[in-house]
Amino acid sequence: MSLTRSSKRKINRNLLRVLLTGMTAVVLFSGSSSAQTITNDLSATSPAHYDISGDDPYIIFNPVQQAEKPRYLSIDLGSQLTDVPLEIFFNSEQDLFNPYYKISFTVSSFPAALELPAGTAFTQSTRLRLDINQCESCSLNFENLPVLTDQIDATVTLIEPKRVQIGIVALDKNSATIINPDWHFNDLNGALDKFEMSADDPFIVSTQLSLATEHLAGVYFKLKAPKSNHAWNSYQLFYQTERHSFSRQASSTLRIADSDNGIVEFMFPLDFLSTQQPSNIILERIRLDIPEISGYWTLLEARLVHKENVADYLRMIPVQLIQSKQQVVTGRSLIKQSLINVSADIGFSISYLLLMLSVTWIVVRGYRSSR
């Protein structure tokens, strides 16, 4: 799971700058820079008490260290934050936190203790960032700084983390990039080598990928489909990232012709996950919705395509493709994208310009000859 030092540095430099740039931080306590507690989108109602005041509330702090080799982070944030999704980021450079290092959890009651992930070394100089998610009117009690400790008493709730992320897997062009064969079925019966529709919303969902999208070009599928009544059928890919779950606004739909032998293969481009803003996010899972066709299906192959190998797969990208993105094209990329769109039909573009010029010429000539 861990990265090489150079790639880590690269990720920190490129990814986090984008993700965390623009934060409007408020420095609350003076003192040494490492001891500063910084808040964002939190307004202080009294010392160490805050109300959420924006879309991205978080607090950056240093924990109190009580044990030399701590096993737990003991926290007490007030009753308002029970059952609210929380995240602690623990890898930073100058308070720019790496999203690939985090613990996601909820707390049923405070005080509570979070078991620290094995292989991590937390000390009082470790900068931590606590993010409060999905709560617009919560308040935070931060009177008691979180404590690094090695024992907890029976009254403290032990937190079961929803997810612990330490580093990220980058796509390797040389290694196997076939997606794990353990797919979850919905409205489908059978196994990957033979499955059929059992209700009207058939789709398959991959296992957790947690993949850096820096080198990702797209996802390739090869299926054997049953005979359809329609000449063209649609497939839809949903992609879940660390920012959003499966949603129509983060999906791609393609339509391809039915083939005689039933073999259909296609690639959904996902290169925009690393090129458009926000970029270089984490691909968590993918979901493929298949058309409602009765009969037996087989998933022959599902592959994550590296950017350097994309040439082999370009012909698998159908002409009929719609992509709903939660990324946006900006700046030079927008101009480039516009030019690509125009140049996609260069024959028409040139003819169109010639037509405009011809009309202008005819008008000028007609005007002169009518004197």
Partner: protein, 419 residues
């Protein structure tokens, strides 16, 4: 600049403006229409669809021509069930993302350009005084209603308007039967033209002539209109064609619409009928004026009445433009009302817009959100609306203002100008 030079320059600029808009904008209705056209071409169902017969076959002819330049074999216009020909946003998305989207849009709007320019030339011919015809031509070529509905929304209203224009021109020259036939063709383009029938028939009456000759002439005109209007259905039935090709059997039947219409289910129905009756009396009382003048003036006001109480879709306002422009021939001062109409129409539809009207999708070949700021209503809700002045109230206010503008326009059209 002499008259001819003015015509060349105005037409040239008008065409350039239209060409500049043609490839880049579209509403989903245009794609639905294109699917129907290519479905007919692909399956050789040339003698089936009778709905808006004239428009449809003009589009079919141009689409056939366009296949010399575009490839439609990649399933882009694939229609699995013709009775479900109205496109959903997924299919429309495929269309907009097609690499040849610009040429598709360009070629599909080509017949509209031809009929639009032809209408401009007929307007030039209809209006006699040089200074009047220049104003009329400029109003036609550069009015935002026609430009929007034809080249941005991408609908075929100009084809219907062309035949109405030709009808008015024939009336000007007292060619009553030709005018009747052209009117029937216009009916085969748009059902709304039915509203004009009583006013056309009253306009045909020559009050100085014997009543018996008038009855004969009116009967012949009515017969021509009926015959031309019913001919396509009759021919298609005769050839064993399917006139219900694109009709959705699950859609609400026409009688389901008629029932609330006659029982005040539609609040606008009786005000419109009463106002039209008043207009018919006015037209009868002004029987000493030329046929074309009576038809043009009453046809202008017919739509003012209709749109005063009933808004419908944004592009239908294009119907409003033609006859008021022709009223310039009769000395009517319509420039100011036109400017007021354009402004009221724009603000009303900015507020009353939906995802297909002013923002989202219009430049979808480049980006699905052309302006990048979302819909105007959402901006209004966010920055302008208060608890006491909501979006709904703003729309109602603008509808009232729109009605007032149409009233002002009707006054200018009906007002007898001092000699």
């Amino acid at each position: 600049m002499n008259n001819k030079q003015f015509l060349i320059v105005a037409l040239g600029l008008g065409i350039l403006l239209r060409l500049a808009l043609m490839p880049f904008f579209a509403h989903v209705d245009l794609f639905s229409e294109a699917r129907r056209v290519f479905y007919v071409l692909e399956n050789d169902f040339l003698f089936d669809n009778s709905h808006r017969f004239v428009v449809f076959y003009i589009e079919v002819i141009f689409a056939w021509f366009s296949t010399l330049f575009i490839d439609v074999t990649e399933g882009l216009f694939y229609l699995s069930d013709p009775s479900q020909s109205v496109s959903d946003l997924v299919d429309y998305g495929f269309f907009l993302n097609d690499p040849n989207i610009y040429r598709h849009l360009f070629f599909f709007k080509l017949p509209y350009l031809v009929f639009d320019v032809a209408t401009a030339l007929l307007i030039w011919k209809f209006v006699d005084k040089p200074e009047h015809r220049k104003i009329a031509l400029l109003l036609w070529l550069f009015n935002p209603l026609t430009l929007f509905s034809t080249y941005i929304f991408g609908r075929f209203e100009v084809i219907s308007l062309f035949f109405l224009m030709a009808c008015a021109l024939q009336l000007k020259y007292d060619h009553v039967f030709r005018a009747s036939a052209l009117f029937a063709i216009a009916l085969l383009c748009r059902e709304i033209n039915l509203l004009y029938i009583p006013f056309l028939l009253i306009a045909l009456i020559d009050f100085k002539d014997h009543w018996f000759r008038n009855i004969i002439m009116l009967s012949c005109s009515a017969a021509i209109i009926s015959a031309v209007y019913l001919l396509p259905n009759w021919l298609i039935n005769l050839s064993g064609g399917n006139t219900q090709l694109f009709v959705d059997p699950t859609a609400a039947h026409a009688t389901d619409t008629l029932r609330p219409l006659l029982s005040l289910g539609y609040y606008w129905f009786y005000p419109i009928v009463i106002s039209l009756a008043v207009l018919a009396i006015y037209q009868w009382e002004t029987g000493d004026r030329p046929k074309a003048e009576r038809f043009v003036l009453s046809a202008s006001v017919v739509l003012f009445i209709y749109f005063g109480f009933n808004v419908h879709s944004v592009h239908y306002a294009a119907w409003l433009v033609l006859f008021p422009i022709l009223s310039i021939q009769y000395g009517k001062r319509v420039v100011l009302p036109f400017i007021a109409l354009f402004g009221a129409w724009l603000i009303l539809w900015l507020l009353k817009t939906d995802s297909g009207v002013f923002t989202l999708f219009l430049a979808a070949p480049l980006t699905t959100d052309f302006i990048g700021t979302g819909h105007f209503p959402s901006i209004f809700q966010q920055h302008i609306a208060t608890d006491t002045f909501t979006l709904h109230q703003a729309i109602q206010l603008m509808r009232s203002i729109f009605l007032v503008v149409l009233g002002f326009f009707a006054y200018r059209v009906l007002k007898t100008e001092a000699k």
